[in-house]
Amino acid sequence: MRVADPAVRELLWNGFDAVVGEMSLLLKRCSFSPLIREMLDFSCGFLDARGRLVADSHLIPAQAGTLEFALAGALARTGPLAEGDVVVTNDPYSGATHLPDLEVFMPVYAGGELLGHVATVAHHVDIGGVSARNRGAVPGHREASRDLYEEGLQLPPVRLVERGRRNDALWDVVLRNVRDPESVEGDLMAQLSACRRGVERLRELAGRHGAATLRAAADDLIDDTSARAAAVLRGWPEGTVTATGFLDGDGLHYDEPLRVHAAVTVGDGRMTVDLSRSAAQTTGTFNVPWSSTYSGLYYALRCFLGPGIRQNHGYMRHVEARAPEGSLFRPRRPAAVMSRHMAVQVLTDVVFRALGELLPDRAVAASHVSFPVLLMHAVDPRDGASRTLMDTVGGGGGARRGAAGDDGIDSYTSNCALMSAEVIELEYPWRVRACALVPGSGGSGTWRGGLAVRRDYELLADRASGRVAAEQRRPEHAARGAAGGGPGAPASAMVSRAGGPWEPLPYDTSSLSVRRGDVVRLTAAGGGGYGPPTAPSAAPSHRADGDEAPRDVEVGLDRRGGLAQRGQQRGAGLGRGAVGGVHGDVDGGDGA
């Protein structure tokens, strides 16, 4: 340890967390986009002078994991940042993730010495590009492909503020290229204020303890975390395990599933993940920038490392990804990446499954990765303003030994909060008619899978157009069970027009158009069950909802223990995660 005094070390480590926490609170409270303020789709961090993550805000792992890559990409382009500089980027091909996530970095100097960089990344409400409203306006038209240029304004790393002076030309360009400049400006300003606050606080910390001590404590923190991670990894059996999962399509085309294959090798205190047998780069929107591929792997490893691991570079350095250029997880410019989140979630799930094979005691059933989204424009009759509602609902968590899966959660590397129905109705011309758990949507098992959420949106404006999407709609891609548990129910998207019956929406609903009184229904997928289903239970089903006929599983809703399944899950225990050992192959039979 470089800082010999254990008290000073601990004070600084806690201090780093406090600084990042304060940045997050500030950003959340003064931002405009509901994605940031309601769903908390943002992250903050502190990285050292060499660009290694020292602390992050524990909000969205999918974003936090990209900070090191984006900062490295930025510094490679701009050179070292001077005091008072602020750099912004959203370029997926120089370390950022997808275009709406603007990553902002500011160096921290104390007495002329570089202490490190503070960072914020936030999902903006719009970043330009081809509008969902116009896309596919011709009925029956199907897009052949999409690329990055259609996804919005690309910002290679560029100074947003130069030595304390705002780069007005850049702001003008950005704000002229987005559909909601007020929100984007407000949120970018919030990111800037959060960075400034972080810089102030770190300077104060340096003032209290000395700049050299602060830097040394950051080094110690990373080394300490690394030593802990290595110790856990060395305790694991060595070898290679493989697992496969599938996406229903590539974001545009759903004729064929998209394969996600991971060969996870543990040895010598490291985890190496070979993705070369995953799908090639696609012409759809699910391509995953390299930094986001790493985010998924970081998240999975951190979960399995267990408690006592702090969120910083120290454990990340034990991860290595391998994928050929031009593949799904390492695409080439200008492949479209807008919905890369879907593939990252499946990747994380697949690595969870592989690690569960390696460490059977820690195996968990799969959580949903359906991420249903409604993104629709409408003119609010209350004031004539055009408003875009973007909302998503959670699904079922995977069951584990001893506990049913969580009901209604966002999963893995995502952590979006549920937007309040009252907020939606106060701000958008929509009424949330229902927001409920879907009975029976959790996979059967000794411990049942978590239940999915479904939400019904009634349009209160004359018309609305936009996009509705949900992955994991094919039963064969539903959240797998573990240790003999059954899979969760698949997701769905439906519409009821003028009080008519529910019509399932096709995958490609970029051009969905609805009228006043129509109701759109999003249903997420359920979580997988754990352990073989037990004997019928006396627990009563809490209600019969009529319109839900979830497969052939009947699950009594015992919310606490989950020991309430009735009936047999067709195909339960057939292959899903049941084959293979440490060196075996645990590819599920699904869709292969």
Partner: protein, 711 residues
């Protein structure tokens, strides 16, 4: 410990208020019941007795009897008894709730289970979400719907309510009703409440529009359900206590302190127990504000450190800072409360070194049982043990010797748990443990101050609780604060706060609209309703009949989700001509808190808040100070914050005179104050002891870092 440990004291007798009032305060805690009597002439009597957890009223009566005896007053002379209680808090912490039934807008039956949709630990897929407070079989959807503008979309189906009530009959102790947009129009909730009362006579019913008429359905539902869960137990408890007092011949008002630091009639507390959840810390903050005022320090930072946890709060302009949302045991509570931040750092916080050589302190605690190793039964090293090893606590014991300390056990624990693994001397290890505890408290203080744009330098740090004054000067140095205040009775501060609280109740109502396009007729009507309601609820809370009313507004830029509370007027009106002033005030507040503001973004009104205050009579109190005796100083060897040897002067509080210089230790029954080198005592009287920095802070230099070739 037996009987009273703290005798009556003579107070300064001056400034008696008009309208003679003799008020008794009783603060019932887990181990002690503290009582105080503020007589109309300004005399303050205090009395501390052991609590009687199985029948808390017993300790209350003993304490009150003691006060009457000392003061020579009779029950008939007492004008009010104010009570601070943890009964609601304990029920939440232990999960000891009543069985609640929930009626909710159809389609939202799973509102509690879905919650915010966030996992309890992002990186722990094995940790389940907490169970909802109401199991799903006791939740019933009811057909009805109010729109965002308050209009009726779907009329309430009475039969749904009756059917639900019948289904709950015999299975619940209380019922909560939560309908969407009930803050915009509460008619459906009220009707449903009436129907439930008809069907289930005797079962208490709580409506979300009465508990927290503010937007966002989940926090409102969680708050309402928690209120329902607390209703039966709290109601019974308060009724029994009141009966006990009546038996003793008290005919006076029986009142409680709320989380917002207001004194309210027991009847209001009985129907709104969720408002009592942070009553204890709130009383501490009220006392801190009062002590600050008496010292001419309207802006102070409060630090209350007990055995297992600490509370920090900010006092500004003589008033504790308040907030409108909080969290108790992981549940959102959408009610006004004093902005107290609890942290897991106290005398009992455990110190440990893990396999990788990291020293951590807390948040887990040895609590009162087994307690620190020095208490004689625990084995593990705590902050208290570290103080004993460092020489900053008197081995003769706490509570005037009533609680002896075993210095050898403390040393053995520090050696085994900290010094050994780190290869340090026990003294250096103890110093490290204390510095980490100091750092955790300083970080919490920063979170309630600098994190909100408030500069604490130049303010005083007011420290109390059994362990607060031990840490205060070190924390002050960390924060750049140069003045520390220790009240006369640091262990009785909450009881003092109960005496100092105004009658107060806050009511809010969400009404989202652009500030420049307000429907002023509607706003006026809404304010009128809030005023009537607050006045009615407060009746009997104080000396005056009519409360003083004021109006605040939660404002935000259109498009934001979080608001800043801006004072509107003491006249309780919001007029069109106020718009410009409010916009400016909001922009200034936004700049102060977030670092920037906007000129061209419209400002929105979100929630109107009426505050009704019945001021208590001003009394120029002072508690038990007499001239110091012959200085009876002793000296003790110990170690300072860095682990360097030092000789402490040891003085009893009653013997302290201004001019006492650190390093010194001031002993009194309920606390120990550490005055480090560089600090000296500048004032001692019946209000407080003030300690100030006389020499500039010498930075505690850590061992020089060794720059190695990094990995």
């Amino acid at each position: 410990m037996n009987g009273a440990v703290n005798g009556a004291v003579d107070g300064a007798v001056n400034g008696a208020a008009a309208g003679a009032r003799n008020v008794i305060a009783v603060d019932i805690g887990g181990t002690h019941t503290d009582a105080a009597l503020l007589a109309a002439d300004g005399t303050l009597h205090v009395h501390k007795v052991p609590s009687t957890p199985t029948d808390p009223g017993l300790a209350l009566v003993t304490a009150v009897d003691g006060l009457l005896e000392r003061s020579g007053l009779a029950p008939g002379d007492i004008t009010a008894v104010v009570h601070g209680t943890t009964v609601a808090t304990n029920a939440v912490l232990t999960g000891d709730h009543a069985r609640v039934g929930l009626l909710v807008t159809a389609g939202f039956d799973d509102i509690l289970e879905i919650g915010t949709q966030q996992r309890p630990d992002l990186y722990d897929p094995w940790r389940p979400k907490a169970a909802a407070l109401v199991p799903r079989e006791r939740v019933h959807g009811v057909r009805e719907r109010i729109g965002a503008d308050g209009s009726v979309v779907t009329p309430l189906v009475d039969d749904d309510v009756r059917r639900a009530a019948r289904a709950l009959a015999g299975r619940v102790d209380a019922v909560a009703v939560v309908f969407l947009f009930s803050f915009a129009d509460a008619a459906h909730e009220r009707r449903a409440g009436a129907l439930v009362r008809e069907e289930l006579p005797g079962v208490p019913v709580t409506l979300s529009s009465s508990v927290a008429a503010e937007f966002r359905e989940y926090p409102r539902a969680a708050t309402t359900v928690l209120n329902a869960a607390l209703l039966p137990r709290t109601g019974g408890y308060l009724a029994r206590l009141e009966a006990r007092l009546r038996e003793r011949g008290f005919a006076c008002a029986f009142q409680l302190m709320t989380s917002a630091g207001g004194v309210v009639p027991a009847a209001l507390a009985t129907s709104l127990p969720v408002a009592l959840l942070v009553s204890g810390p709130a009383a501490g903050a009220i006392a801190a504000a009062e002590i600050g005022r008496r010292l001419g320090e309207p802006d102070v930072v409060m630090l209350d450190v007990g055995g297992t946890s600490a509370d920090v709060a900010l006092i500004e302009g003589g008033q504790p800072r308040r907030r409108y949302r909080g969290e108790v045991a992981g549940l959102p509570v959408a009610l006004p409360q004093i902005d107290v931040l609890p942290i897991g750092a106290g005398g009992g916080s455990l110190a440990r070194v893990d396999a990788f050589g990291s020293l951590t302190v807390g948040p887990d605690s040895a609590g009162a049982d087994p307690g620190p190793a020095a208490y004689g039964s625990g084995l593990r090293a705590t902050v208290t043990d570290a103080h004993l090893v460092r020489g900053s606590l008197d081995p003769a014991g706490l509570l005037g010797g009533a609680l002896p300390l075993d210095a050898d056990r403390a040393r053995a624990a520090i050696e085994r748990d900290v010094a050994g693994p780190l290869g340090l001397t026990p003294e250096a290890a103890a110093a490290s443990v204390i510095r980490i505890a100091d750092g955790a408290m300083a970080d919490a203080l920063r979170a309630v101050t600098v994190a909100r744009g408030i500069d604490v330098r130049g303010r005083a740090l007011l420290a109390f609780g059994g362990a607060g004054p031990l840490h205060a000067c070190a924390i002050a140095d960390d924060l750049g604060v140069a003045r520390v205040v220790v009240p006369r009775h640091p262990g009785l501060t909450s009881a003092l706060g109960l005496l100092m609280g105004d009658g107060r109740h806050d009511l809010g109502r969400t009404c989202v609209a652009p500030l420049r396009a307000l429907d002023h007729a509607r706003v006026d009507a809404l304010i009128g309703e809030l005023v009537d309601e607050a006045t009615r609820l407060l009746r009997g809370a104080g000396v005056a009949d009519a409360p003083r009313l004021s109006l605040d507004a939660d404002l935000r830029y259109a498009g934001q989700a979080y608001e800043l509370t801006i004072p509107v007027s003491a006249a309780c009106a919001l007029r069109p001509e106020d718009t410009g002033r409010l916009e400016t005030a909001f922009a200034e507040a936004h700049r102060a808190v977030y670092g920037h503001a906007w000129h061209d973004v419209p400002v929105e009104l979100v929630t109107l808040r009426v505050r009704a205050v019945v001021p208590r009579a001003a009394v120029d109190w002072a508690a038990g100070h007499r001239a110091p005796r012959e200085p009876a100083r002793r000296y003790r060897s110990g170690w300072d914050a860095t682990g360097a040897p030092v000789r402490y002067t040891v003085v009893d509080r009653v013997d302290v005179e201004p001019g006492l210089r650190g390093p010194a230790i001031v002993r009194q029954t309920d606390t120990t104050t550490l005055v480090p080198r560089g600090w000296w005592v500048t004032r001692v009287d019946g209000v407080a002891m003030v300690i100030e920095r006389v020499e500039p802070v010498e930075r505690v230099e850590p061992v020089e870092p060794v720059e190695r070739e990094g990995s």
